[in-house]
């Protein structure tokens, strides 16, 4: 009787193992379905979200470095580039020039640039803006609330991070890390579905 029982045990164990394997394989296949993002310029940390798969950007209201209140919903209808930065952050300082240039180049097209200053103080942030000729406004996010809200929809892993929001308030593209002018150019060109040569 024991022999039969042992066989039964082995059979049950084999069935369970087989079932587990099947489940794992199916899950793996299911999650690696059609990708809804494409890489920008071959950089896996810079992505474009295909239309229909763009996450909705959360709304927020915050204080700018100059002390006035700014509501993100006021940007609805415009393309916005949101850049998470800090004066203490070395890659942020490296990309600042690119952002400043891009801001000026795309201003006539109505593209807005907005900075979100994390873990910083007003004095240092203003000094940063002066150093790199940043003319677009930044809001203070010392408590990381805005970061937290955005992390719920896109995987923000650190600073700097640049998000490009389309006219309907959805996130069309993102650079998770230091952004180059070329990447910004590519993303902005695709926001409205038209390639722009500037």
């Amino acid at each position: 009787m024991f022999r039969t029982k042992r066989r039964a045990v082995v059979l049950v164990a084999a069935v369970i193992t087989g079932a587990l394997l099947v489940v794992v394989l199916v899950a793996g296949w299911a999650t690696s379905g059609k990708r809804d993002v494409t890489d920008v310029n071959g950089n896996p940390d810079a992505v474009l979200y295909t239309a229909g798969h763009r996450p909705l950007a959360p709304d927020f209201t915050a204080t700018t470095l100059t002390g006035s209140r700014l509501s993100f919903s006021s940007y609805r209808g415009r393309v916005v580039v949101v850049n998470f930065w800090g004066s203490w952050c070395v890659p942020c300082r490296e990309e600042a020039a690119a952002l400043a240039v891009a801001a000026q180049r795309y201003a006539p097209a109505g593209v807005a640039f907005l900075g979100v200053d994390v873990r910083d103080t007003t004095a240092s942030a203003e000094a940063f803006a002066r150093t790199f000729d940043i003319t677009y406004p930044s809001v203070s996010d010392s408590g990381a609330q805005i970061t937290l809200d955005f992390t719920a929809v896109v995987p923000i892993a650190g600073t700097p991070t640049t998000l490009v929001i389309d006219r309907t308030g959805h996130i069309a593209g993102a650079v998770f890390g230091q952004a180059t002018y070329a990447e910004l150019n590519t993303i902005l060109g695709q926001v409205d579905g038209k390639a722009a040569a500037r």
Partner: protein
């Protein structure tokens, strides 16, 4: 005793100690032989020894996980030996493959024994106790006495007594026979199996917790808020199967931190209590609550625990550059060194200063005292704070290249402005030579260092630990034992024989129980005689 495995003698064929039976040398037989060996008590014992032995280097040598600085130190003090030890995995014993092999084999051996025994227990729960042997006097415990009751009546009385004690009974098939068998103590095996399975449960819980959990650190200055998101944490270690999305989206504000120290006596200067008053919200838009985090009292929010693991001072500086602009105005966390009494080192980087960037290295002392020209701290509380600064100007190296530590100043591209360290008391300013600007030490605020941990395996591990303890107690307290009663007719009186047998009673405590049971049976018979 808690023997998990069947006794060694339960083999059905003579077997070579070094291999399977002669004449059957196929792979299946070798595997069977190997499995039998693995699940034998002897191998379990060897594996237990190996486990204990393998753990020893983990306590004697510095380990990567807990003391990476110590490992570095070992490399410098034992340059020839250290790489060899590293090859053997001795600097990370508990993650080493050979250590894993030991406990995995041990658990395989455990499972290989527990599963058949569970089936056997289920089987034995359905079978009745064995028949009463003929010669009860040959059992290790026996008693004999006479009674005027008829044999079958005497057996009835005995059965009633034993049943009252919770024994399971077996009656003879032939009504002419006068005996009853009683058995008790099945819970012992249940406890045994529960204990061993619970250990397995602990292992699985620990593994799952490590895979799906995370640990993170954050230094928080008094007055600041932080949110539990990857970019806002100083350090984050995710388990292999955990992602940033598993971070609970809570927010914590440090309202106030107080530390108190013993002010007199032999323990002067030792900490007496730490207390961090915080406001927290479990999710954005969720309700705000206030609480206090202390040592031994972590904050539990959203399934995650937040611990207070350290604290320090952050002196506040305001820097004005050559152009008169305020380019820096912020608390700057300084880290306590090993000198004691919270003498702390830190760095101020002012990349926004024009025309040249400014940098300062400093030492903060909460209670400053001048000891033969050197600055020292006399007490850990900030009774007499001061800061000593050395100023630099030039290129901080922050505009390009690799990210820098906020606690280290790279003076390679800078020139020193002040010849000697300058001591500042709160409110005092240091005017930099060459019109480069001013730095003012405006005050200080405390900072705390918080550890955030999420371990989904924690509660299951505890539950399994408690189950293991329960199983252990059951298996030690309950004994499997059998009592037999036979009654023989013999003239005017019947002879009642009582026999007792305790299986695996290596502790010898069945004796007293048998004696009292025999006395009770006898007294019951005497009472029924009346």
């Amino acid at each position: 005793m808690t023997d998990v495995r069947a006794p060694e003698a339960a083999t059905t064929e003579p077997r070579l100690p070094g291999g399977p039976a002669r004449g059957a040398q196929g792979l299946a037989d070798w595997l069977k032989w190997g499995w039998r060996q693995l699940t034998s008590m002897r191998i379990a014992l060897v594996l237990l020894f190996l486990l204990a032995l393998g753990t020893v280097p983990g306590s004697m040598l510095p380990q990567e996980g807990a003391d990476p600085a110590g490992v570095q130190q070992y490399y410098t003090s034992h340059p020839a030996l250290a790489p060899l030890l590293n090859h053997l995995g001795l600097f990370n014993v508990f993650a080493a493959p050979w250590f894993a092999a030991i406990y995995l084999l041990l658990f395989a051996s455990l499972v290989g024994c527990v599963v058949p025994r569970t089936f056997r227990l289920a089987g034995s729960a359905r079978t009745l106790p064995p028949r009463a042997p003929r010669h009860l006097a040959r059992l290790p415990h026996s008693a004999e006495y006479g009674t005027t009751l008829a044999p079958d009546r005497a057996v009835e009385v005995a059965a009633a007594v034993l049943s009252g004690h919770g024994f399971r009974l077996r009656r003879p098939d032939d009504p002419a026979d006068a005996w009853v068998s009683a058995e008790k103590g099945y819970l012992r095996e249940v406890g045994n199996l529960l204990f061993h399975l619970a250990l397995l449960g602990v292992l699985v819980s620990v593994a799952l917790g490590g895979l799906f959990g995370y640990k993170a650190d954050r230094l928080l200055v008094q007055g600041d808020t932080f949110a539990n998101t990857a970019s806002a944490l100083d350090e984050i270690h995710l388990g292999r199967l955990a992602t940033d999305a598993d971070l609970g989206p809570f927010t914590i504000t440090l309202n106030r931190f107080t530390a108190s120290y013993i002010t007199s006596g032999a323990q002067r200067g030792q900490p007496a209590s730490f207390d961090a008053q915080v406001t927290y919200a479990a999710r954005p838009g969720g309700p705000s609550r206030t609480d206090s985090i202390e040592v031994n009292r972590p904050l539990s929010v959203d399934g995650t625990k937040v611990y207070l693991i350290g604290h320090g001072y952050a002196p506040v500086f305001r820097v004005t550059d050559a152009r008169g602009q305020v380019v820096y105005d912020s608390p700057t966390p300084f880290i306590a060194g090993t000198t004691g009494n919270f003498l702390s080192d830190g760095v101020v980087k002012v990349p926004g200063a024009q025309p040249e960037q400014l940098g300062f290295t400093g030492v903060f002392v909460p209670t400053w005292v001048d000891v033969a020209g050197t600055l020292q701290s006399a007490f850990p509380a900030a009774e007499n704070p001061a800061v000593s600064l050395i100023a630099y100007a030039g290129n901080l190296g922050m505009n390009s290249g690799a990210p820098q530590s906020v606690y280290e100043l790279d003076t390679a591209g800078m020139h020193r402005l002040t010849a000697e360290p300058q001591l500042l008391l709160p409110g005092q300013s240091l005017k930099l030579p060459g019109g480069q600007g001013t730095i003012t030490f405006t005050g200080y605020v405390p900072w705390v260092s918080l550890a955030i941990t999420h371990d989904p395996g924690q509660v299951p591990a505890l539950a399994c630990g408690i189950a293991a303890l329960g199983g252990l107690l059951l298996s030690f307290l309950v004994r499997r034992r059998r009592i037999f009663v036979r009654a023989r007719a013999g003239g005017p009186t019947s002879t009642v024989q009582v026999g007792g047998l305790a299986r695996t009673d290596a502790s010898g405590s069945f004796e007293a129980e048998f004696a009292s049971l025999a006395a009770e049976l006898r007294s019951a018979h005497s009472q029924h005689e009346k």
